[in-house]
């Protein structure tokens, strides 16, 4: 064996040299930022005078240091984890939260020490746990349904949020309905105004949950049938279904807004619940205080790192009901998926629909069932959510996005992962919110608590770096690993016990518990390695990790020496800690001393650990003889262990007192107790073979019994258990004797265990006769109903009995069998079959029915006409002929305008696409021109606004098209890059005398913003390039949300207003504004003949100029981008869209191409954002909400046609015009002369009819008056939400009926050409000249140096390009 001791330093140096540059740099950054944070005055790398100080100063300095520290720390952690082997990796990942926490706390501590602040963070244990559960429940409301849909149908369903809200509103509407209390035997009043009686009833809650489940489930099935099934039949990709669900969610949200307005409502199931001051649990709890920064009290006494005090926590009943309800639904779904036949079918369909279909599963029915259950669960969760959270139609989206993050975190499609992830995120959100509330104000950022909302996203992005497929996948992999090494699942009784113990320890903050937990873990770890690697024979300690260098030295020591070293190390730790406590103070010297102590402590720990590890051979010496004991000796050992523990505990209890001597005695007893416990654990481990033998014997017995014996055993066990319970109830009392009796019962309850054993043994037998899930639900209902609801008339008991009845499979089989027989008999009837076949051959019944309903029951002639149209087209031959005729006309049309060889391509040929573009553009232009306006001035303002918005939307759609249409990355974060651009331009251009301003010129700020955005896009590729499409979508939308939240919270992202609380950039210098106002506005006003209402000539407003600028920018982007995507680069992007792997195999780096695509698109989007900001003049945080931007741009992208930039302009035009038409309709409501007046009147009347005449059939008057007021005149639709619905409808319809959009992508069909002349070189030289001119102009505009440099760069670029191209052509020619 080699002695390493002399070479240690050398070895360390060598291993340092072997590290990669990135890691070294990360270490450097870590150390640098650590000192920078700690010593705010004296900085090494980022000291105050460093080269970038003109850019980064003030608050941004410590922010950057903080991020430098945390990010480099995380990076090192990531490297550490990814370099471990698989087994250690899973342990390391499980422990990584601790590492992350310590990194963050060191960062905080250093920052506060550097700033000279003292921060006290306080956590209430119970409050933290329960609030974490509350947040988790809130995320789970949607996450369960989303996960289920994802599992089976494989797409992220945006509409789930609105379905959840529908459920919530069903509850609220039932609350307003007078009939419910009538049904319950009360008066005919709304349930919320039933007088208080001091008793909580659950009737309404129960029935609201049931009804919401059924109705929303039905809604889910209808949506599935109408929309998603069609996509499944077309084999549409998940992206399409995701976007169509976005459309549906917009429709539903619009409808909910129209019906319920944007007012908050809460579901009150019983007036007694309202009084939240009384309806709550009181829980005693503990308050933990962590002290950061200068840990000194005012009078000089030292404060500990933490201290705890007693505390109280109040939990409202409603909150508790919400938490318990949602979690039990989640658990129930998990059980259903894993146990029942339906769950098996769902998993089969999820795995492979085709295979499932071929093995006799009706796939469509399973899809429908999934849709029902997913929607129903979301609806029920909505009811439960509205118990505590006030619902409004906007709530859905604000829960949806974090829920998406949660399900991605927990692996898409894994219910278990979703539950765990929601708990983790809930916990982190709770903790971080309380941290931010404590920390924020001290750093001058009282708005930082808003960051709590960002936690799911932050955590998502972080976790995807370590676990690219989420938590559920990590657990599943771990379990597979364990199953392979035959260690069973992680949900073994031992692990659950350990987890519960840990929770208990955390709860009660008991140190002894922690120590015990650590000891058990240690021994388990030891045993695991023994049992796995040697299969019970020779223990092998090789797998215990050893500290390098030190461990090998220790191995050569004698056991006496080891003991001495161990003791010395322990002593060192104690002494150093003691010294540390004594000498704590302030100042640099103390700091150094602190580090010395810290270092010494760590050394002590390492030495201790190593000596324990090297003790293992000795433990083996104990272990070997103990193994050969006979079972009697083992039992004796066990009993003596128990006794030792018991006796020492008892004596300890008796002699407890205070003073040092007692402390010593206590310690001794502790030692004795621990050794007793160890003895017990040890012997239990030794005699496990005997225990297993016992179980095996029982098992064999159970296998042999006959069926009658089995049932009789079961019945006997049930009776015996019930009897024991009865006796227990009867004899309960207090006193020692009772305890003994209780103990006796405990043993008798073993019969219950036997029952469970029998059931598991003959599970197939039992489940053949009894549906255990139904039975359990029924029994639970009966049990809970009597416990919570003594006065119920809600038929809970009755329905529970029905459930139990149907849980007997004989009964249910009889009932359903007869029903299906009946159906079969009807179907077998020849006459019936023939006639239905004939009818369905000629008529589409659904269309007919829909048409008749429209014609018969709607009192509006326009809609009646639509009804007639439907009735006509329900006649199939007519519909077929009409569509054939339409196709014929199209063909003739294309043959007329296209050359014969291209006619078949129609819209997707180059010329056809241009032709249609011109036609559409002309139509839309004429609509825009003819929009009504009172004066020529307002008309011009309107048109210029339309133009600017059209250009903004087109530019953003170009960016989206580049990312999604060409590269195939589903980017839901368009607004992320646009917002980045808008905010950067705003902050940089605001004059320096205004708060937050930097006073840059607009041009340089815009270029900088584009570069910044491009860099962000490039770096986004690192974590996301390998992600699947849906992960990418959710990551991008999450980043957008993070930017929104950051904008709300971070004062550095504000500019323009003096008030400190103002959010956003409220002042935008606009490009060339002064120049415009000084020169042209008068003459242009004259030229355009702008007159106001009095007929007086007006100057042309700035938007006229802005529209010209916008057109210029839009055309420039279109042209440049067009050239780029028509080049080989664009072709490669499209290849990546089609198949990444193959593209890689043909020599193109997917990462690099995705990164360039992301960067270019991001720069374009930043330009669009800046342009938009110049129009809006101020950017608040709701600018970044995806509803007003990203979703609209997606609508433009879908309607126009993905992959085609011309289509982006058409789509954007449609969306923008839609917006303006609705704005004008609002104006036209009260203006009889307005062109839109009749249309608005029609919409208003239709809406009023729907609400007052149709909905009042099944909704109470209260539900109308509480929303719209008592006056019937006020029942008006808010047109903004009609618009939202309409856009959603357009998205869904265009996806359903013209998936490729109005102008489909034009596949490139290059022709072979015979001439190779360098004929476009004149263009190249023009470009060179132009670039010189641009350079000169820049010299004139922004300064000599920058302009010259830019011009040189441009020229060099052109020359280099021409040179390269020339050389290549020569080479090709040679070949």
């Amino acid at each position: 064996m080699q002695n390493y001791s002399g070479n240690t330093v050398k070895a360390i140096r060598e291993s340092w040299n072997n590290l990669s540059l990135g890691i070294k740099f990360a270490w450097f950054l870590l150390v640098d930022s650590f000192f920078a944070l700690r010593l705010q005055d004296f900085l090494i790398f980022n000291y105050k005078g460093y080269p970038l100080s003109w850019l980064i100063h003030g608050d941004s300095l410590w922010l950057i240091q903080f991020f430098q520290f945390t990010i480099s720390g995380f990076y090192l952690l990531h490297i550490c984890i990814s370099n471990l082997d698989a087994k250690k990796q899973s342990v390391a990942i499980a422990l990584s939260p601790l590492a992350i926490l310590s990194i963050l706390s060191i960062a905080f501590d250093s920052l506060f020490i550097g700033k000279g602040l003292t921060i006290e963070m306080s956590f209430d244990t119970n409050s933290t746990m329960l609030t974490a559960c509350y947040w988790a429940a809130q995320y789970l409301t949607l996450a369960i349904g989303l996960t289920l849909i994802y599992k089976v149908q494989r797409f992220g369903n945006f509409a789930q949020a609105e379905i959840m809200l529908v459920g919530a509103y069903i509850g609220v509407t039932m609350m307003w309905s007078p009939y419910f209390s009538l049904m319950m035997g009360g008066d005919r009043v709304p349930y919320s105004s039933v007088p208080k009686d001091g008793e909580l009833t659950w009737d309404l809650l129960f029935w609201a949950c049931v009804l919401a489940f059924l109705l929303t489930g039905l809604l889910g099935v209808i949506l599935d049938r109408l929309v998603y099934r069609r996509f499944r039949q077309k084999n549409a990709i998940p992206q399409i279904m995701m976007i169509s669900s976005l459309g549906i969610s917009m429709i539903l949200r619009g409808i909910l807004y129209l019906r319920y307005r944007a007012v908050n409502h809460r579901f009150v199931t019983d007036p007694d619940w309202v009084d939240l001051r009384e309806a709550k649990f009181e829980i005693s709890s503990r308050l933990w205080r962590l002290n950061f920064g200068e840990r000194l009290d005012s009078d000089g006494t030292v404060l500990a790192f933490y201290n705890t005090v007693e505390d109280e926590y109040y939990l409202q009943y409603t909150k508790a009901a919400m938490i318990v309800g949602i979690f039990s639904i989640a658990l129930l779904l998990w059980v259903v998926l894993n146990v029942t036949k339906l769950g098996r079918k769902m998993r089969a369909v999820a795995d492979n629909p085709d295979l499932a279909a071929s093995s006799g599963i009706n796939v469509e029915r399973v899809h429908a069932q999934t849709a029902f259950i997913a929607a129903g669960i979301s609806g029920t969760c909505g009811v439960l959510l509205s118990l505590f959270v006030r619902v409004n139609p906007n709530l859905g989206l604000s829960i949806l996005l974090p829920s998406f993050a949660v399900i991605v975190l927990g692996t898409l499609g894994s219910v278990r992962g979703a539950i765990i992830a929601s708990l983790i995120v809930g916990f982190i959100r709770t903790v971080s919110e309380s941290v931010l509330i404590d920390v924020g104000p001290e750093l001058g950022r009282s708005s930082y608590s808003a960051f709590g909302e960002a936690m799911p996203y932050l955590f998502l992005v972080g976790a995807l770096m370590t676990m690219p497929k989420g938590i559920g996948n990590a657990i599943a992999n771990w379990e597979i690993e364990r199953a392979r090494s035959s260690k069973g699942t992680i949900f073994s009784p031992m692990n659950i016990f350990l987890f519960l113990l840990l929770v208990f320890c955390l709860w009660s903050a008991s140190w002894f518990g922690f120590i015990l937990w650590g000891i058990i873990i240690f021994w388990l770890y030891l045993f695991n390695h023994i049992t796995v690697s040697s299969s019970f024979s020779i223990p092998d300690f090789k797998n215990i990790p050893q500290t390098p260098y030190i461990g090998s030295i220790f191995r050569n020591f004698t056991s006496y020496q080891k003991g001495m070293v161990f003791a010395a190390a322990a002593l060192q730790i104690v002494v150093v800690s003691f010294l540390d406590l004594r000498t704590s103070g302030v100042g640099l010297a103390y700091l150094l001393v602190d580090y010395v102590f810290f270092f010494l402590n760590i050394i002590g720990l390492i030495v201790m650990y190593s000596s324990i590890a090297s003790y293992l051979p000795e433990i083996r010496k104990i272990y070997e003889p103990a193994k050969s004991l006979n079972s009697e000796q083992k039992v004796q050992l066990l009993v003596s262990g128990f006794l030792l523990t018991l006796v020492s505990f008892g004596v300890d209890y008796l002699v407890a007192g205070s003073g040092t001597i007692y402390l010593v005695i206590d310690l001794m007893f502790l030692l004795l107790e621990v050794s007793g416990i160890l003895l017990v654990v040890f012997t239990l481990f030794f005699s496990r073979m005997e225990l297993i033998g016992l179980l095996i014997g029982l098992d064999r017995k159970l296998k042999e019994i006959t069926e009658i014996q089995m049932w009789s055993t079961m019945v006997g066990c049930v009776v015996l258990t019930a009897f024991v319970f009865f006796l227990d109830e009867a004899t309960s009392g207090s006193g020692m004797i009772y305890y003994l009796v209780d103990l006796f019962y405990l043993f008798v309850i073993l019969s219950a265990v036997l029952l469970v054993l029998v059931i598991t043994k003959s599970r197939a037998e039992v489940s053949h006769r009894i549906n255990l899930v139904l039975a359990t639900i029924g029994i639970l209902l009966i049990y809970c109903e009597s416990a919570i609801d003594p006065q119920s008339r809600a038929y809970v008991t009755e329905s529970a009995f029905v459930m139990i009845l149907f849980s007997f499979n004989v009964v249910s089989r009889f009932v359903f069998g007869n029903l299906s027989n009946l159906r079969d008999t009807i179907n077998k009837n020849l006459f019936y079959r023939d006639s239905t076949a004939k009818i369905t051959e000629y008529f589409n019944l659904y269309r007919l029915l829909f048409g008749i309903i429209l014609y018969q029951y709607v009192p509006f002639s326009l809609i009646q006409n639509i009804g007639i149209f439907f009735i006509l087209f329900s006649f199939n031959p007519l519909a077929d002929n009409a569509s054939k005729g339409l196709e014929y006309i199209q063909r003739i049309f294309w043959e007329a305008i296209l050359p014969p060889s291209k006619a078949a391509y129609g819209r997707s040929s180059e010329r056809g696409s241009w032709f249609l573009f011109v036609v559409f553009f002309f139509i839309l232009c004429s609509i825009a021109w003819n929009l009504p306006s009172s004066t020529s001035q307002t008309q011009y303002i309107q048109i210029t606004r339309i133009i600017v918005l059209l250009c903004v939307f087109s530019i953003l759609a170009f960016s989206l098209n580049l990312h999604t249409g060409l590269t195939g990355m589903t980017n839901f974060g368009v607004i992320l890059f646009a917002g980045l651009g808008a905010i950067t331009v705003g902050i940089l251009t605001v004059p320096e005398d205004k708060p937050g301003g930097h006073g840059w010129s607009i041009l340089s700020a815009t270029i900088f913003a584009m570069l910044l955005s491009a860099a962000a896009g490039w770096f986004l590729a690192y974590p996301t390039a390998r992600l699947r499409m849906d992960y990418f979508a959710i990551v991008t939308i999450s980043l957008g949300e993070m930017l929104r939240i950051t904008m709300r919270a971070e004062p550095l992202l504000r500019a323009g207003t003096t008030s400190k609380s103002a959010i956003g950039v409220t002042l935008y210098p606009q490009p060339f504004k002064e120049w415009w106002e000084n020169t042209f506005d008068n003459s242009v006003g004259e030229y355009l003949d702008l007159r106001n209402a009095e007929g007086i000539l007006q100057v042309a407003p700035y938007t006229v100029f802005l529209s010209v600028l916008a057109i210029f920018l839009c055309l420039a982007v279109w042209f440049v981008l067009g050239l780029m995507i028509n080049s080989p680069w664009g072709r490669i992007l499209r290849a990546i869209r089609e198949d990444e792997e193959v593209t890689m195999h043909h020599g193109h780096s997917v990462f690099y191409q995705k990164a360039t695509s992301l960067a270019l698109g991001a720069a374009i989007a930043a330009l669009g954002g800046a342009l938009w900001a110049w129009l809006k003049m101020s950017i608040l945080d709701d600018f970044l909400s995806p509803v007003f931007s990203t979703f609209l741009i997606w609508a433009a992208f879908i309607v126009g046609g993905k992959g085609n930039n011309k289509a982006m302009i058409i789509g954007a035009f449609i969306i923008v015009l839609n917006d303006f038409v609705f704005n004008l309709m609002v104006l036209g409501r009260n203006n009889v002369t307005n062109e839109f007046h009749t249309m608005v009147t029609f919409v208003d009347e239709l809406f009023a009819w729907l609400i007052l005449d149709v909905m009042s059939i099944f909704m109470s008057d209260l539900s109308i008056t509480i929303v719209f007021g008592n006056n019937v005149e006020n029942v008006l639709p808010e047109l903004a939400y009609v618009k939202v619905s309409l856009i959603g409808l357009v998205i869904v319809l265009s996806l359903l009926f013209s998936e490729k959009g109005l102008l489909p992508e034009v596949p490139k069909r290059p022709e072979e050409s015979s001439d190779f002349r360098i004929d476009i070189y004149w263009l190249f030289w023009t470009l060179a000249l132009l670039s010189c001119l641009v350079g000169l102009w820049m010299v004139y505009k922004i300064g000599l140096m920058v302009g010259i440099i830019l011009a040189i760069i441009l020229l060099a670029l052109v020359v280099a390009i021409s040179h390269l191209g020339q050389r290549k052509i020569v080479q090709e020619g040679d070949n």
Binding site: R484, S1127, D1139, P1307, I1361, G1365
Partner: protein, 255 residues
């Protein structure tokens, strides 16, 4: 003859399953080698390990004397290798001619800036297009040039796939069942064509083929036979034809 592809002790595990078990073989310059074996014997996994799609558990792959372990597929392609897939994977929403224009090496304009500039230097692209049409001519599918590849039949897709592989001017070509689903005469023609390419241009080809008779008749230089993850034997077609082991491996189930 120097070897262009050298596989040494290659092993690939999928969890507990050993798909490829310690195999070694090499392909010389200008050699036409067949890789045959029954279903599931690890041929395609071997291809995946060579082309960088999978990381081998153990062993080395050398391509033109450069170790290609831990290289991503695009880096491996840069060494001069091109492969095809067993299930034809074309870029489906692009035309056949476009499919052929992506693989050529050293294209000008594969990033946004040069892409922008390439508009002003159209001749490079014209040469490429001409070459692509010539390739289509050779494979007799010029009439499908303007069709989306999702509209092609199975055999035509195979042909476009081969054409696409040839467009990359590979020095070493790995073909995974190139003629499965192609009509007889055309399949013969393709193989004869491959033979001609090997002889004329001096490139090397490693081809997986299921149909043993077929490959024996079509003039490959050497055959590597795999069975259950191992190399059963290597040798000339005649040696393989007479080998007892090979016949056993192929007809093993019939006994």
């Amino acid at each position: 003859m120097s070897s262009v592809l050298k596989v040494t002790n290659l092993t690939k595990d999928f969890g507990g399953l050993r798909a490829v078990d310690n195999i070694s073989f090499d392909v010389g310059k200008g050699e036409f080698v067949g890789l045959i074996g029954p279903n599931g014997c690890g041929k395609t996994t071997t291809f995946n390990c060579i082309s960088g799609l999978l990381d081998a558990t153990k062993g080395d792959v050398e391509i033109f004397n450069r170790n290609s372990n831990n290289l991503t597929p695009d880096k491996v392609q840069k060494l001069g290798l091109t492969r095809t897939f067993q299930h034809t994977r074309l870029w489906r929403d692009m035309t056949s001619i476009e499919n052929l224009l992506i693989p050529p090496r050293n294209q000008f304009g594969t990033n946004p800036f040069t892409g922008f500039a390439s508009f002003f230097i159209p001749d490079e692209e014209r040469l490429r297009v001409r070459k692509a049409y010539q390739t289509l001519d050779e494979l007799e599918i010029r009439h499908m040039a303007h069709n989306l590849t999702s509209e092609l039949s199975g055999g035509q897709s195979k042909l476009v796939d081969i054409g696409r592989a040839l467009m990359g001017d590979p020095l070493l070509l790995l073909l995974d069942e190139p003629v499965a689903g192609v009509a007889g005469p055309l399949a013969e023609k393709i193989f004869n064509n491959l033979r001609k390419i090997v002889d004329d241009k001096g490139i090397s080809i490693l081809v997986i083929e299921h149909n043993m008779d077929f490959i024996l008749r079509h003039g490959v230089d050497r055959i590597v036979v795999m069975d259950q993850g191992r190399v059963l034997m290597q040798g000339s077609p005649d040696e393989v034809k007479d080998s007892k082991e090979v016949i056993e491996a192929y007809l093993g189930g019939a006994k």
